[in-house]
Point group: C2
Chain length 275, copies 2
C-alpha cells in the first residue's frame, strides 16, 4: 500500500488524503471488537462511521509523516481521535427528555437513545485502549504515547471540546440574558470544538513522529488554523457573518496556517489541505 | 498521614479502608479542574461524588500495598477507577426521552440532563488523563501505566461494564421473549458491572505495585469474588433469591476469595474487606 500511495501522490496530492482516510477506516474496522453480542457491536460500528468527517485524524498522520515519522506510528492515535469525535457527536445528538437542543439539525437515529448513549460511552474508552495498546516496548515509545493520551483527553475533556459543547448547548437559542452567552460565544465554541481538536491532532502526530518541540508547536498552530477554517465553513452559514466577511476571515487563517509550515521540507503535501 | 494510618490500623483494621477512601477523595478534589467556568466544574464536582461507593478504587490501593508497593503508586489509578464508575453511573441515570428504564430507582437530579450527559463525558477522559499524567520517567513506570490504561478501558468498555449496562437496560422489565434475556442475564450483569470491575481494580493495583504475574492474577480473582459478593448484596433484594440461598452463594464466594489470598504476608488487611 505505501508504494501505491507514493505513485498516486505524484499524480494528485489530494489522493494523499483519500488514501489516508481509507487507512484510518481500515484500522478502525479491524479494531472494533467483533465478539458477540452483535446487538452491541452493530450500533458501535454504525455510530463510529455516522459522524461527519473531522480532519483531526488526517492531520495527525500528516504531521507525523512531515516530521519524518512512519504512518504506522500515528495510525492508532488518528483512530483514537476519530473515535473521540464519533463518541461526542453521538452524545451531542441524543434526544434528551428536556430541554431539547434548539438549533441542532434533526438527524436520523438508527438506534434507541439508551443504546446510542451506551455506545458512545463504549467508543470513548475503545479509542484510548487502542492508543495504549499501540505501545511497542522495542521502540521505547511509551513516554510519547502517554503524552498523546494526555493531549487527547485534555482536548476532548471539560476544558476542551466539552467546554465548547456546553457553551453551545447553553447559548443556542439563548435570549442573550446570560453573561456567558456574549457576542464571542460562537467563536469560543469553534475554537474548542474544532480549532483546538485539530491542533491536538497535528501536535499528536508530530509527537509520535519524534518531531522537535519547535516542530510540535508549529504543527499544533497549523492544525488550529486549519480547524478554525473548517469550523468557519461548517458553522459559517448559521452565523451572522456576511459572505464577504467570512471569506476574509478564512483567508486570514489560511495565511497564518501557511506561515507555520515554512521550513518543513515536504510542506506542499500539507498545503493541499487548505485548497 | 502514613504514620497516623499505621497507628490506627493496629487498633482497627477497618480504619485502613476509611483512611484510604479519604486519600482517594483528597486526590480527586485536588485533581478536578478548578478553572472557570464554575457552571462546568460545579456539576463535575457534584456528580463525581454523587455515585454510590464502589470498592474497586480501594481494592486497587490495597492490592498495590499487598504486593509491596507504595500507596502513591496506585492513587491515580484508584482515582481513575472512581471517575469511570461515577461517569457511567451518571449516564445510567440520565432521563432519556424514550424508552425510560423501568427498574431504575428515581434519583435526584441536581442538573439538567444535557449537563449531566456532558459532565459524564468530561469525567471519563479526566480519569484517563490523571492516570497518564502519573507517569514518572525517573521510576520507569510508563509500561505499567499503559498496561493499566488498557485494563481499565477494557473493564469499562463495550466488552466490560457497558456490556452489563446494555443487558440490564434491555432485560429489565423484559417479558422474556428475547434470547439474550434468559435466566442467566442478571448474573451476567453482576459479573460485568461489579465482579470484573473490582477484579480490574485489584489487578491494576498489583500491576502498579510491581507484583509478579501470579500475584496479579490471584488478586484479580480475589477482586472478582469480592465484587460478586458486593453485587449480590447490592442487587440481592431485587432478585428472586431467597435470603437463605443468597447467604449460601455469598459464603461460597467468600471462601473462594480467601483462598486467593493464601501466601500473601499481610493478607489479614484484605480479609477485613470481607467482614
Amino acid at each position: 500500500r505505501p508504494m501505491k500511495m507514493k505513485v498516486t501522490m505524484s499524480v494528485d496530492n489530494r489522493s494523499y488524503w483519500a488514501v489516508m482516510e481509507a487507512d484510518i477506516k481500515a484500522h478502525l474496522k479491524q479494531a472494533i471488537p467483533i465478539h458477540p453480542p452483535l446487538s452491541v457491536t452493530e450500533p458501535m460500528d454504525h455510530l463510529i462511521f455516522a459522524a461527519p468527517r473531522s480532519l483531526a485524524p488526517a492531520l495527525c498522520i500528516a504531521a507525523c509523516e512531515l516530521v519524518g515519522g512512519q504512518r504506522n506510528q500515528a495510525i492508532a492515535a488518528a483512530s483514537a481521535l476519530h473515535l473521540m469525535h464519533a463518541a461526542l457527536y453521538t452524545h451531542e445528538h441524543l434526544p434528551l427528555s428536556k430541554p431539547k437542543p434548539k438549533t441542532k439539525p434533526t438527524i436520523y437515529h438508527s438506534f434507541k437513545p439508551n443504546i446510542e448513549l451506551l455506545t458512545g460511552d463504549g467508543i470513548l474508552p475503545l479509542g484510548l485502549e487502542l492508543l495504549a495498546r499501540s505501545d511497542e516496548p522495542t521502540i521505547k515509545n511509551s513516554g510519547r504515547i502517554l503524552r498523546v493520551i494526555i493531549e487527547i483527553t485534555r482536548a476532548v475533556g471539560s476544558q476542551g471540546m466539552l467546554d465548547g459543547l456546553y457553551l453551545e448547548n447553553k447559548c443556542s437559542g439563548s435570549d442573550g440574558g446570560d453573561d456567558l452567552c456574549d457576542v464571542g460565544w460562537m467563536a469560543h465554541v469553534g475554537e474548542k470544538k474544532v480549532g483546538e481538536f485539530y491542533a491536538c491532532g497535528a501536535a499528536c502526530g508530530a509527537i509520535l513522529g519524534e518531531g522537535s518541540e519547535e516542530e510540535i508547536e508549529k504543527l499544533r498552530k497549523f492544525g488550529f488554523y486549519v480547524g478554525m477554517i473548517h469550523g468557519m465553513v461548517l458553522f459559517g452559514r448559521d452565523s451572522r457573518y456576511e459572505d464577504k466577511k467570512l471569506l476574509e476571515v478564512v483567508e486570514g487563517f489560511r495565511v497564518l496556517a501557511l506561515k507555520e509550515l515554512e521550513g518543513f521540507k515536504e510542506k506542499q503535501i500539507l498545503e493541499t489541505i487548505l485548497e
